[in-house]
Protein backbone atom coordinates (compact mmCIF):
# COMPACT_ATOMS: atom_id res chain seq x y z
CA UNK A 1 0.00 0.00 0.00
CA UNK A 2 0.99 3.63 -0.45
CA UNK A 3 2.72 5.48 2.28
CA UNK A 4 0.67 7.54 4.65
CA UNK A 5 0.46 11.07 3.37
CA UNK A 6 -0.64 12.83 6.54
CA UNK A 7 1.89 15.10 8.21
CA UNK A 8 2.94 14.12 11.68
CA UNK A 9 3.96 16.14 14.69
CA UNK A 10 7.50 15.59 15.96
CA UNK A 11 6.75 13.33 18.85
CA UNK A 12 4.56 11.02 16.83
CA UNK A 13 6.03 7.91 15.36
CA UNK A 14 5.98 8.04 11.57
CA UNK A 15 4.52 4.96 9.98
CA UNK A 16 6.39 4.48 6.74
CA UNK A 17 4.81 1.20 5.56
CA UNK A 18 1.46 -0.19 6.37
CA UNK A 19 1.58 -3.53 8.07
CA UNK A 20 -0.95 -6.20 7.36
CA UNK A 21 -2.08 -8.69 9.89
CA UNK A 22 -2.61 -12.31 9.01
CA UNK A 23 -5.75 -14.01 10.16
CA UNK A 24 -6.25 -17.73 9.94
CA UNK A 25 -9.94 -18.27 9.33
CA UNK A 26 -10.67 -21.93 9.74
CA UNK A 27 -10.27 -24.85 9.06
CA UNK A 28 -13.03 -25.41 11.61
CA UNK A 29 -14.43 -22.00 12.26
CA UNK A 30 -18.02 -21.95 13.54
CA UNK A 31 -18.95 -19.18 11.11
CA UNK A 32 -17.90 -20.95 7.93
CA UNK A 33 -20.36 -23.86 8.06
CA UNK A 34 -17.92 -26.52 7.01
CA UNK A 35 -14.22 -27.16 6.82
CA UNK A 36 -12.77 -24.26 4.90
CA UNK A 37 -9.47 -22.66 5.67
CA UNK A 38 -8.65 -19.18 4.47
CA UNK A 39 -5.48 -17.38 5.37
CA UNK A 40 -6.52 -13.76 5.19
CA UNK A 41 -4.33 -10.72 4.82
CA UNK A 42 -6.12 -8.04 6.75
CA UNK A 43 -5.87 -4.30 7.09
CA UNK A 44 -7.94 -3.73 10.19
CA UNK A 45 -11.17 -5.37 9.25
CA UNK A 46 -10.71 -5.03 5.50
CA UNK A 47 -9.56 -8.12 3.61
CA UNK A 48 -6.75 -7.58 1.16
CA UNK A 49 -6.04 -11.09 0.10
CA UNK A 50 -7.17 -14.60 0.87
CA UNK A 51 -5.49 -17.94 0.28
CA UNK A 52 -7.97 -20.79 0.55
CA UNK A 53 -6.80 -24.27 1.44
CA UNK A 54 -9.15 -27.09 0.58
CA UNK A 55 -9.13 -30.86 0.73
CA UNK A 56 -9.74 -31.41 4.43
CA UNK A 57 -12.48 -33.93 3.80
CA UNK A 58 -11.14 -35.38 0.57
CA UNK A 59 -12.30 -39.00 0.35
CA UNK A 60 -10.86 -40.11 -3.00
CA UNK A 61 -14.25 -40.65 -4.64
CA UNK A 62 -12.87 -40.83 -8.15
CA UNK A 63 -10.43 -43.56 -7.18
CA UNK A 64 -13.03 -45.45 -5.13
CA UNK A 65 -15.39 -45.40 -8.09
CA UNK A 66 -12.87 -47.27 -10.21
CA UNK A 67 -13.26 -50.36 -8.03
CA UNK A 68 -17.00 -50.28 -7.50
CA UNK A 69 -19.88 -51.71 -9.50
CA UNK A 70 -22.10 -49.02 -11.00
CA UNK A 71 -24.95 -49.39 -8.53
CA UNK A 72 -22.55 -49.07 -5.63
CA UNK A 73 -21.27 -45.73 -6.86
CA UNK A 74 -24.61 -44.09 -6.00
CA UNK A 75 -23.78 -43.88 -2.26
CA UNK A 76 -20.59 -42.02 -3.23
CA UNK A 77 -22.61 -39.43 -5.14
CA UNK A 78 -24.80 -38.95 -2.04
CA UNK A 79 -21.81 -37.56 -0.26
CA UNK A 80 -20.93 -34.92 -2.84
CA UNK A 81 -23.53 -32.24 -2.21
CA UNK A 82 -25.16 -33.82 0.82
CA UNK A 83 -27.76 -31.06 1.05
CA UNK A 84 -29.43 -32.35 -2.11
CA UNK A 85 -28.33 -35.97 -2.45
CA UNK A 86 -31.26 -37.12 -4.64
CA UNK A 87 -30.19 -34.78 -7.46
CA UNK A 88 -26.73 -36.34 -7.40
CA UNK A 89 -28.24 -39.84 -7.38
CA UNK A 90 -30.49 -39.07 -10.33
CA UNK A 91 -27.66 -37.42 -12.24
CA UNK A 92 -25.55 -40.52 -11.82
CA UNK A 93 -28.37 -42.84 -12.89
CA UNK A 94 -29.02 -40.75 -15.98
CA UNK A 95 -25.32 -40.89 -16.88
CA UNK A 96 -25.33 -44.68 -16.75
CA UNK A 97 -28.64 -44.83 -18.60
CA UNK A 98 -27.18 -42.65 -21.33
CA UNK A 99 -24.32 -45.13 -21.64
CA UNK A 100 -26.76 -48.06 -21.72
CA UNK A 101 -29.04 -46.17 -24.14
CA UNK A 102 -31.96 -47.09 -21.90
CA UNK A 103 -35.45 -45.71 -22.43
CA UNK A 104 -36.89 -44.56 -19.13
CA UNK A 105 -40.69 -44.59 -18.85
CA UNK A 106 -42.31 -41.16 -18.50
CA UNK A 107 -43.79 -42.10 -15.16
CA UNK A 108 -40.38 -42.76 -13.65
CA UNK A 109 -39.05 -39.54 -15.17
CA UNK A 110 -41.86 -37.51 -13.59
CA UNK A 111 -41.20 -39.13 -10.24
CA UNK A 112 -37.58 -38.15 -10.63
CA UNK A 113 -38.54 -34.57 -11.36
CA UNK A 114 -40.60 -34.46 -8.16
CA UNK A 115 -37.79 -35.84 -6.04
CA UNK A 116 -35.20 -33.55 -7.62
CA UNK A 117 -37.29 -30.43 -7.12
CA UNK A 118 -38.00 -31.39 -3.50
CA UNK A 119 -34.29 -31.69 -2.87
CA UNK A 120 -33.64 -28.41 -4.65
CA UNK A 121 -36.03 -26.77 -2.21
CA UNK A 122 -34.24 -28.46 0.71
CA UNK A 123 -30.88 -27.24 -0.61
CA UNK A 124 -32.09 -23.66 -1.05
CA UNK A 125 -33.74 -23.67 2.38
CA UNK A 126 -30.39 -24.46 3.95
CA UNK A 127 -28.49 -21.88 1.96
CA UNK A 128 -30.96 -19.04 2.40
CA UNK A 129 -31.68 -19.63 6.04
CA UNK A 130 -27.95 -19.73 6.74
CA UNK A 131 -27.52 -16.39 4.97
CA UNK A 132 -30.10 -15.14 7.45
CA UNK A 133 -28.17 -16.59 10.37
CA UNK A 134 -24.96 -14.93 9.22
CA UNK A 135 -26.67 -11.55 9.12
CA UNK A 136 -27.90 -12.17 12.66
CA UNK A 137 -31.44 -13.28 11.86
CA UNK A 138 -31.70 -16.61 13.63
CA UNK A 139 -35.50 -16.60 13.68
CA UNK A 140 -36.00 -17.27 9.98
CA UNK A 141 -33.61 -20.19 10.13
CA UNK A 142 -35.46 -21.82 13.01
CA UNK A 143 -38.85 -21.48 11.39
CA UNK A 144 -37.98 -22.54 7.84
CA UNK A 145 -35.90 -25.52 8.93
CA UNK A 146 -39.03 -27.43 9.90
CA UNK A 147 -39.87 -27.56 6.17
CA UNK A 148 -36.56 -29.13 5.38
CA UNK A 149 -37.47 -31.70 8.02
CA UNK A 150 -40.78 -32.34 6.21
CA UNK A 151 -38.89 -32.92 2.96
CA UNK A 152 -36.58 -35.36 4.70
CA UNK A 153 -39.63 -37.19 6.01
CA UNK A 154 -40.78 -37.61 2.41
CA UNK A 155 -37.36 -39.01 1.44
CA UNK A 156 -37.47 -41.30 4.44
CA UNK A 157 -40.87 -42.63 3.42
CA UNK A 158 -39.72 -43.28 -0.15
CA UNK A 159 -36.30 -44.80 0.41
CA UNK A 160 -35.69 -45.17 4.14
CA UNK A 161 -32.86 -42.65 4.42
CA UNK A 162 -32.90 -38.95 5.13
CA UNK A 163 -29.61 -37.28 4.29
CA UNK A 164 -27.59 -39.69 2.17
CA UNK A 165 -30.54 -41.05 0.31
CA UNK A 166 -29.30 -43.50 -2.35
CA UNK A 167 -32.80 -43.09 -3.75
CA UNK A 168 -34.07 -45.05 -6.76
CA UNK A 169 -32.18 -47.35 -9.09
CA UNK A 170 -30.39 -47.22 -12.41
CA UNK A 171 -33.43 -47.23 -14.71
CA UNK A 172 -36.06 -45.75 -12.43
CA UNK A 173 -37.44 -46.62 -9.02
CA UNK A 174 -37.61 -49.99 -7.33
CA UNK A 175 -41.28 -49.66 -6.43
CA UNK A 176 -44.28 -47.36 -6.49
CA UNK A 177 -44.25 -44.68 -3.83
CA UNK A 178 -46.50 -45.41 -0.89
CA UNK A 179 -49.75 -43.56 -0.25
CA UNK A 180 -48.16 -42.06 2.84
CA UNK A 181 -45.41 -40.54 0.71
CA UNK A 182 -47.97 -38.91 -1.58
CA UNK A 183 -49.91 -37.63 1.43
CA UNK A 184 -46.73 -36.10 2.83
CA UNK A 185 -46.00 -34.45 -0.52
CA UNK A 186 -49.55 -33.08 -0.72
CA UNK A 187 -49.35 -31.65 2.78
CA UNK A 188 -45.97 -30.14 1.97
CA UNK A 189 -47.27 -28.50 -1.21
CA UNK A 190 -50.26 -27.08 0.65
CA UNK A 191 -48.42 -25.76 3.65
CA UNK A 192 -44.95 -24.83 2.47
CA UNK A 193 -46.07 -21.69 0.56
CA UNK A 194 -47.19 -20.28 3.91
CA UNK A 195 -43.82 -20.99 5.49
CA UNK A 196 -41.92 -19.59 2.52
CA UNK A 197 -44.06 -16.43 2.45
CA UNK A 198 -43.38 -15.95 6.13
CA UNK A 199 -39.64 -16.33 5.50
CA UNK A 200 -39.79 -13.93 2.53
CA UNK A 201 -41.66 -11.34 4.58
CA UNK A 202 -39.06 -11.61 7.29
CA UNK A 203 -36.02 -11.03 5.08
CA UNK A 204 -36.65 -9.99 1.49
CA UNK A 205 -37.46 -6.31 2.12
CA UNK A 206 -35.94 -6.13 5.57
CA UNK A 207 -33.87 -2.96 5.92
CA UNK A 208 -31.19 -4.52 8.09
CA UNK A 209 -30.91 -7.59 5.90
CA UNK A 210 -30.68 -5.50 2.72
CA UNK A 211 -28.06 -3.21 4.23
CA UNK A 212 -25.95 -6.24 4.99
CA UNK A 213 -26.40 -8.12 1.70
CA UNK A 214 -26.82 -5.58 -1.12
CA UNK A 215 -23.46 -5.00 -2.79
CA UNK A 216 -21.80 -7.60 -0.60
CA UNK A 217 -19.37 -9.86 -2.46
CA UNK A 218 -20.50 -9.01 -5.99
CA UNK A 219 -19.17 -10.59 -9.17
CA UNK A 220 -19.81 -9.40 -12.72
CA UNK A 221 -21.29 -11.67 -15.38
CA UNK A 222 -18.01 -11.72 -17.35
CA UNK A 223 -15.93 -12.73 -14.36
CA UNK A 224 -18.54 -15.27 -13.31
CA UNK A 225 -18.42 -16.89 -16.75
CA UNK A 226 -14.62 -16.81 -16.78
CA UNK A 227 -14.63 -18.60 -13.44
CA UNK A 228 -17.13 -21.16 -14.80
CA UNK A 229 -19.87 -20.19 -12.37
CA UNK A 230 -23.08 -22.14 -12.78
CA UNK A 231 -26.46 -22.37 -11.15
CA UNK A 232 -27.97 -19.71 -8.88
CA UNK A 233 -24.62 -17.93 -8.50
CA UNK A 234 -24.29 -17.39 -12.25
CA UNK A 235 -27.94 -16.48 -12.61
CA UNK A 236 -27.59 -13.90 -9.84
CA UNK A 237 -24.94 -12.24 -12.02
CA UNK A 238 -27.48 -12.00 -14.83
CA UNK A 239 -26.78 -15.00 -17.09
CA UNK A 240 -29.89 -17.11 -17.62
CA UNK A 241 -28.13 -20.45 -17.91
CA UNK A 242 -30.06 -23.37 -16.49
CA UNK A 243 -29.32 -26.94 -17.52
CA UNK A 244 -32.98 -27.85 -17.09
CA UNK A 245 -33.85 -25.46 -19.92
CA UNK A 246 -30.72 -25.65 -22.06
CA UNK A 247 -30.29 -29.43 -22.13
CA UNK A 248 -33.55 -30.81 -20.76
CA UNK A 249 -33.25 -34.18 -19.08
CA UNK A 250 -35.84 -36.35 -17.38
CA UNK A 251 -38.73 -34.63 -19.22
CA UNK A 252 -38.07 -31.12 -17.90
CA UNK A 253 -39.21 -29.89 -21.30
CA UNK A 254 -42.79 -30.87 -20.35
CA UNK A 255 -43.02 -28.29 -17.60
CA UNK A 256 -43.45 -24.52 -17.66
CA UNK A 257 -41.26 -22.56 -15.33
CA UNK A 258 -39.28 -19.36 -15.35
CA UNK A 259 -35.58 -19.00 -14.65
CA UNK A 260 -35.07 -16.14 -12.19
CA UNK A 261 -32.02 -13.96 -12.82
CA UNK A 262 -30.36 -11.19 -10.85
CA UNK A 263 -28.40 -8.18 -12.03
CA UNK A 264 -25.60 -7.41 -9.57
CA UNK A 265 -24.31 -10.86 -8.66
CA UNK A 266 -24.12 -9.87 -5.00
CA UNK A 267 -25.27 -11.75 -1.92
CA UNK A 268 -28.75 -10.26 -2.06
CA UNK A 269 -29.23 -11.36 -5.67
CA UNK A 270 -28.04 -14.86 -4.92
CA UNK A 271 -30.47 -14.99 -2.03
CA UNK A 272 -33.35 -13.72 -4.16
CA UNK A 273 -32.60 -16.09 -7.07
CA UNK A 274 -32.79 -19.01 -4.66
CA UNK A 275 -36.00 -17.68 -3.09
CA UNK A 276 -37.68 -17.50 -6.48
CA UNK A 277 -36.35 -20.88 -7.55
CA UNK A 278 -38.12 -22.42 -4.59
CA UNK A 279 -41.43 -21.04 -5.90
CA UNK A 280 -40.63 -22.38 -9.36
CA UNK A 281 -39.77 -25.79 -7.91
CA UNK A 282 -43.11 -25.91 -6.12
CA UNK A 283 -44.87 -25.13 -9.38
CA UNK A 284 -42.91 -27.86 -11.22
CA UNK A 285 -43.86 -30.44 -8.58
CA UNK A 286 -47.53 -29.46 -8.86
CA UNK A 287 -47.40 -29.74 -12.65
CA UNK A 288 -45.70 -33.13 -12.43
CA UNK A 289 -48.34 -34.48 -10.07
CA UNK A 290 -51.13 -33.11 -12.25
CA UNK A 291 -49.69 -34.55 -15.47
CA UNK A 292 -48.45 -37.81 -13.95
CA UNK A 293 -48.65 -40.44 -16.71
CA UNK A 294 -49.49 -44.09 -16.10
CA UNK A 295 -46.96 -46.79 -16.85
CA UNK A 296 -44.01 -48.62 -15.40
CA UNK A 297 -41.82 -47.26 -12.63
CA UNK A 298 -38.60 -48.47 -14.20
CA UNK A 299 -37.04 -49.26 -17.52
CA UNK A 300 -36.62 -52.78 -18.83
CA UNK A 301 -33.15 -53.32 -17.35
CA UNK A 302 -33.13 -56.74 -15.68
CA UNK A 303 -29.47 -56.24 -14.80
CA UNK A 304 -30.34 -53.61 -12.22
CA UNK A 305 -33.64 -54.67 -10.67
CA UNK A 306 -33.86 -57.61 -8.32
CA UNK A 307 -36.40 -60.15 -9.59
CA UNK A 308 -39.42 -60.88 -7.34
CA UNK A 309 -38.62 -63.15 -4.43
CA UNK A 310 -41.01 -65.96 -5.53
CA UNK A 311 -39.13 -66.19 -8.81
CA UNK A 312 -35.74 -66.23 -7.09
CA UNK A 313 -36.79 -69.27 -5.08
CA UNK A 314 -38.37 -71.16 -7.97
CA UNK A 315 -36.57 -70.09 -11.10
CA UNK A 316 -32.93 -70.64 -12.06
CA UNK A 317 -32.52 -67.51 -14.22
CA UNK A 318 -34.04 -65.30 -11.56
CA UNK A 319 -31.69 -66.78 -8.98
CA UNK A 320 -28.67 -66.12 -11.22
CA UNK A 321 -29.80 -62.55 -11.81
CA UNK A 322 -30.31 -62.05 -8.10
CA UNK A 323 -26.74 -63.08 -7.34
CA UNK A 324 -25.27 -61.19 -10.26
CA UNK A 325 -26.95 -58.00 -9.11
CA UNK A 326 -26.04 -58.43 -5.46
CA UNK A 327 -22.41 -59.19 -6.30
CA UNK A 328 -22.29 -56.34 -8.81
CA UNK A 329 -21.21 -58.52 -11.71
CA UNK A 330 -23.07 -56.61 -14.41
CA UNK A 331 -21.08 -55.83 -17.51
CA UNK A 332 -21.58 -52.35 -18.89
CA UNK A 333 -20.90 -51.57 -22.57
CA UNK A 334 -17.82 -49.66 -23.66
CA UNK A 335 -18.34 -45.97 -24.10
CA UNK A 336 -17.74 -42.47 -22.97
CA UNK A 337 -20.44 -40.07 -21.82
CA UNK A 338 -20.79 -36.74 -20.12
CA UNK A 339 -24.10 -35.95 -18.52
CA UNK A 340 -25.02 -32.92 -16.48
CA UNK A 341 -27.96 -32.04 -14.29
CA UNK A 342 -28.93 -28.83 -12.57
CA UNK A 343 -27.92 -29.52 -9.00
CA UNK A 344 -28.54 -27.27 -6.04
CA UNK A 345 -25.39 -25.38 -6.98
CA UNK A 346 -25.66 -25.61 -10.74
CA UNK A 347 -24.32 -27.85 -13.44
CA UNK A 348 -23.30 -31.08 -11.78
CA UNK A 349 -21.54 -33.22 -14.38
CA UNK A 350 -20.51 -36.84 -14.56
CA UNK A 351 -17.82 -37.75 -17.06
CA UNK A 352 -17.74 -41.51 -17.35
CA UNK A 353 -15.38 -43.67 -19.39
CA UNK A 354 -16.25 -47.34 -19.49
CA UNK A 355 -14.01 -49.98 -21.03
CA UNK A 356 -16.62 -52.66 -20.51
CA UNK A 357 -16.72 -54.70 -17.35
CA UNK A 358 -18.23 -54.14 -13.94
CA UNK A 359 -16.57 -50.90 -12.89
CA UNK A 360 -15.91 -47.59 -14.63
CA UNK A 361 -12.49 -47.10 -16.17
CA UNK A 362 -12.53 -43.45 -15.15
CA UNK A 363 -15.20 -41.37 -13.50
CA UNK A 364 -14.85 -37.66 -13.04
CA UNK A 365 -17.32 -35.52 -11.15
CA UNK A 366 -17.72 -31.96 -12.33
CA UNK A 367 -18.38 -30.41 -8.96
CA UNK A 368 -19.70 -26.86 -9.30
CA UNK A 369 -18.50 -25.82 -5.81
CA UNK A 370 -14.94 -26.82 -6.51
CA UNK A 371 -14.84 -24.75 -9.66
CA UNK A 372 -16.47 -21.56 -8.45
CA UNK A 373 -14.96 -21.46 -4.97
CA UNK A 374 -11.68 -20.37 -6.54
CA UNK A 375 -13.27 -17.00 -7.29
CA UNK A 376 -13.78 -16.43 -3.57
CA UNK A 377 -10.50 -14.50 -2.93
CA UNK A 378 -11.35 -12.18 -5.79
CA UNK A 379 -14.89 -11.63 -4.54
CA UNK A 380 -13.94 -10.75 -0.98
CA UNK A 381 -11.06 -8.42 -1.82
CA UNK A 382 -11.64 -5.09 -0.13
CA UNK A 383 -14.68 -6.03 1.92
CA UNK A 384 -15.13 -6.57 5.63
CA UNK A 385 -14.52 -9.89 7.33
CA UNK A 386 -18.16 -10.25 8.36
CA UNK A 387 -19.24 -9.68 4.74
CA UNK A 388 -16.76 -12.32 3.58
CA UNK A 389 -18.49 -14.86 5.81
CA UNK A 390 -21.78 -13.83 4.30
CA UNK A 391 -20.41 -14.12 0.77
CA UNK A 392 -19.25 -17.65 1.44
CA UNK A 393 -22.58 -18.81 2.77
CA UNK A 394 -24.43 -17.16 -0.11
CA UNK A 395 -22.21 -19.04 -2.60
CA UNK A 396 -23.45 -22.24 -0.95
CA UNK A 397 -20.05 -23.90 -0.86
CA UNK A 398 -20.63 -27.43 0.39
CA UNK A 399 -17.50 -29.07 1.77
CA UNK A 400 -18.48 -32.53 0.53
CA UNK A 401 -18.81 -31.35 -3.02
CA UNK A 402 -15.75 -29.13 -2.83
CA UNK A 403 -13.40 -31.86 -1.67
CA UNK A 404 -14.94 -34.92 -3.31
Amino acid sequence: MSKKETTYSVNQEVIEEKEYSTLNLGPTHPATHGIFQNVLKMDGEIIHDAVPTIGYIHRAFEKLAERRPYAQITPITDRLNYCSSPINNMGWYMTVEKLLKAEIPKRAQYHRVIIMELSRIADHIICNSVIGVDTGAMTGFLYIFQWREKIYEIFEEICGARLTTNIGRIGGFDKEWSKKAWDLIDTFLKEYPKGLTEFSNLLERNKIFMDRTVNCGPISAERALAYSFVGPNLRAAGVDYDVRVMNPYSSYEDFTFTVPVGTQGDTYDRFMVRQHEMWQSLSIIEQAIKKMPAGAMHADLPDFFLPPKEQVYNNMEALIYHFKIVMGETDIPKGEVYHCVEGGNGELGFYLISDGGRTPFRLHFRRPCFIYYQAYPEMIKGIMLSDAILTMSSMNVIAGELDA
Binding site: E62, E66, Y227, S228, V337, C340, G349, R362, H364, A375
Partner: protein, 166 residues
Protein backbone atom coordinates in the same frame (compact mmCIF):
# COMPACT_ATOMS: atom_id res chain seq x y z
CA UNK B 1 -27.94 -31.09 -34.72
CA UNK B 2 -25.06 -32.69 -33.03
CA UNK B 3 -23.68 -34.27 -36.17
CA UNK B 4 -23.78 -30.87 -37.83
CA UNK B 5 -21.81 -29.43 -34.94
CA UNK B 6 -19.13 -32.08 -35.42
CA UNK B 7 -18.84 -31.01 -39.07
CA UNK B 8 -18.87 -27.29 -38.35
CA UNK B 9 -16.10 -27.52 -35.75
CA UNK B 10 -14.15 -30.09 -37.71
CA UNK B 11 -14.16 -27.94 -40.86
CA UNK B 12 -13.03 -24.90 -38.91
CA UNK B 13 -10.28 -26.79 -37.16
CA UNK B 14 -9.14 -28.48 -40.40
CA UNK B 15 -8.89 -25.06 -42.00
CA UNK B 16 -6.57 -23.66 -39.34
CA UNK B 17 -4.88 -26.68 -37.76
CA UNK B 18 -4.84 -29.20 -40.60
CA UNK B 19 -2.16 -31.54 -39.27
CA UNK B 20 -2.92 -31.31 -35.60
CA UNK B 21 -6.36 -32.89 -35.43
CA UNK B 22 -5.76 -36.57 -34.80
CA UNK B 23 -9.37 -37.66 -34.76
CA UNK B 24 -12.88 -36.27 -34.80
CA UNK B 25 -15.80 -38.47 -33.85
CA UNK B 26 -19.26 -38.36 -32.37
CA UNK B 27 -19.48 -40.18 -29.01
CA UNK B 28 -23.07 -40.28 -27.83
CA UNK B 29 -24.22 -36.66 -27.76
CA UNK B 30 -20.76 -35.09 -27.82
CA UNK B 31 -18.45 -34.28 -30.72
CA UNK B 32 -14.99 -35.36 -29.57
CA UNK B 33 -11.70 -34.12 -31.00
CA UNK B 34 -8.29 -35.52 -30.22
CA UNK B 35 -5.61 -32.96 -30.88
CA UNK B 36 -1.84 -32.64 -30.85
CA UNK B 37 -0.61 -31.76 -27.37
CA UNK B 38 1.78 -29.09 -28.62
CA UNK B 39 -1.03 -27.20 -30.29
CA UNK B 40 -3.70 -27.62 -27.64
CA UNK B 41 -3.34 -24.09 -26.30
CA UNK B 42 -3.59 -22.54 -29.76
CA UNK B 43 -6.62 -24.66 -30.55
CA UNK B 44 -8.37 -23.73 -27.29
CA UNK B 45 -7.59 -20.08 -27.92
CA UNK B 46 -8.94 -20.35 -31.45
CA UNK B 47 -12.11 -22.12 -30.29
CA UNK B 48 -12.66 -19.50 -27.63
CA UNK B 49 -12.04 -16.47 -29.80
CA UNK B 50 -13.55 -17.58 -33.11
CA UNK B 51 -16.68 -15.53 -33.72
CA UNK B 52 -18.83 -18.36 -34.98
CA UNK B 53 -17.78 -21.07 -32.54
CA UNK B 54 -17.11 -18.91 -29.47
CA UNK B 55 -16.60 -21.64 -26.89
CA UNK B 56 -16.39 -19.13 -24.09
CA UNK B 57 -17.18 -21.43 -21.17
CA UNK B 58 -14.85 -24.08 -19.78
CA UNK B 59 -17.26 -26.61 -18.35
CA UNK B 60 -14.73 -29.11 -17.16
CA UNK B 61 -11.07 -30.03 -17.30
CA UNK B 62 -9.83 -33.38 -16.07
CA UNK B 63 -7.11 -35.91 -16.57
CA UNK B 64 -7.09 -39.56 -17.50
CA UNK B 65 -4.70 -42.40 -18.16
CA UNK B 66 -4.98 -44.59 -21.24
CA UNK B 67 -5.68 -48.30 -20.86
CA UNK B 68 -2.12 -49.29 -21.84
CA UNK B 69 -0.86 -47.10 -18.96
CA UNK B 70 1.71 -45.48 -21.23
CA UNK B 71 -0.03 -42.20 -21.85
CA UNK B 72 -1.77 -39.53 -19.86
CA UNK B 73 -4.49 -37.33 -21.24
CA UNK B 74 -6.21 -34.07 -20.48
CA UNK B 75 -9.86 -33.65 -21.38
CA UNK B 76 -11.55 -30.31 -21.88
CA UNK B 77 -15.30 -29.85 -22.04
CA UNK B 78 -16.17 -26.60 -23.77
CA UNK B 79 -19.52 -24.88 -24.06
CA UNK B 80 -20.92 -22.07 -26.15
CA UNK B 81 -23.94 -20.96 -24.15
CA UNK B 82 -25.86 -18.75 -26.62
CA UNK B 83 -25.83 -21.46 -29.32
CA UNK B 84 -25.69 -24.33 -26.85
CA UNK B 85 -22.75 -26.00 -28.57
CA UNK B 86 -20.83 -28.45 -26.45
CA UNK B 87 -17.65 -30.23 -27.48
CA UNK B 88 -15.00 -32.34 -25.84
CA UNK B 89 -11.33 -31.90 -26.62
CA UNK B 90 -8.73 -34.48 -25.74
CA UNK B 91 -5.00 -34.51 -25.87
CA UNK B 92 -2.63 -37.33 -25.01
CA UNK B 93 1.07 -37.38 -24.17
CA UNK B 94 3.73 -39.73 -22.91
CA UNK B 95 3.52 -40.58 -19.20
CA UNK B 96 7.25 -39.98 -18.75
CA UNK B 97 7.03 -36.46 -20.12
CA UNK B 98 3.63 -35.26 -18.96
CA UNK B 99 3.74 -31.64 -20.06
CA UNK B 100 1.04 -29.56 -21.64
CA UNK B 101 0.37 -25.82 -21.89
CA UNK B 102 -1.87 -24.26 -19.29
CA UNK B 103 -5.29 -22.85 -20.05
CA UNK B 104 -5.30 -20.48 -17.07
CA UNK B 105 -4.62 -17.49 -19.31
CA UNK B 106 -7.80 -18.25 -21.23
CA UNK B 107 -10.05 -19.18 -18.30
CA UNK B 108 -9.19 -18.41 -14.68
CA UNK B 109 -11.46 -21.35 -13.83
CA UNK B 110 -8.80 -23.70 -15.21
CA UNK B 111 -6.53 -22.84 -12.28
CA UNK B 112 -7.88 -25.26 -9.69
CA UNK B 113 -8.96 -27.84 -12.23
CA UNK B 114 -5.38 -28.02 -13.52
CA UNK B 115 -4.07 -28.22 -9.98
CA UNK B 116 -6.42 -31.12 -9.37
CA UNK B 117 -5.23 -32.84 -12.54
CA UNK B 118 -1.62 -32.32 -11.45
CA UNK B 119 -2.47 -33.60 -7.98
CA UNK B 120 -3.97 -36.86 -9.21
CA UNK B 121 -2.12 -37.59 -12.45
CA UNK B 122 1.07 -35.56 -12.27
CA UNK B 123 0.37 -33.60 -15.43
CA UNK B 124 2.63 -30.54 -15.49
CA UNK B 125 0.86 -27.54 -16.92
CA UNK B 126 3.46 -25.23 -18.36
CA UNK B 127 2.86 -21.61 -17.40
CA UNK B 128 0.48 -22.35 -14.54
CA UNK B 129 0.86 -19.65 -11.86
CA UNK B 130 0.67 -21.92 -8.82
CA UNK B 131 0.98 -25.57 -9.75
CA UNK B 132 0.88 -27.49 -6.48
CA UNK B 133 -1.29 -30.13 -4.88
CA UNK B 134 -4.80 -29.10 -3.99
CA UNK B 135 -6.84 -31.93 -2.46
CA UNK B 136 -4.07 -34.21 -1.22
CA UNK B 137 -1.40 -33.34 1.33
CA UNK B 138 1.65 -31.52 0.04
CA UNK B 139 3.98 -34.27 1.28
CA UNK B 140 2.42 -36.92 -0.94
CA UNK B 141 4.92 -38.28 -3.45
CA UNK B 142 2.66 -40.30 -5.75
CA UNK B 143 -0.08 -39.40 -8.19
CA UNK B 144 -2.91 -41.51 -6.84
CA UNK B 145 -5.29 -41.75 -9.79
CA UNK B 146 -2.68 -43.39 -12.00
CA UNK B 147 -3.48 -47.02 -12.66
CA UNK B 148 -0.18 -48.18 -11.16
CA UNK B 149 -1.65 -47.50 -7.71
CA UNK B 150 -4.42 -50.03 -7.30
CA UNK B 151 -7.01 -49.24 -4.65
CA UNK B 152 -6.88 -52.64 -3.03
CA UNK B 153 -3.76 -54.66 -2.41
CA UNK B 154 -3.76 -57.17 -5.26
CA UNK B 155 -1.57 -59.55 -3.27
CA UNK B 156 -4.06 -60.13 -0.50
CA UNK B 157 -4.24 -63.76 0.47
CA UNK B 158 -6.90 -63.62 3.18
CA UNK B 159 -9.64 -63.20 0.64
CA UNK B 160 -10.45 -65.62 -2.19
CA UNK B 161 -12.59 -64.06 -4.89
CA UNK B 162 -11.79 -66.53 -7.65
CA UNK B 163 -15.27 -68.02 -7.65
CA UNK B 164 -16.64 -64.58 -8.54
CA UNK B 165 -14.39 -64.25 -11.56
CA UNK B 166 -12.07 -61.66 -10.04
Amino acid sequence: MTMELLEIVNNKLKEHFAGDIESAEQLYDYPVFTVNKDKVHDILKFLKEDEELNFHFLTDLCGMQTADEKQLGVIYHLHNMPKNYRIRLKTFFDINKPEVATATDLWPAANWMERETYDFFGVKFKGHPNLKRILNVDEMDIFPLRKEYPLEDQGRTDKNDSMFGR
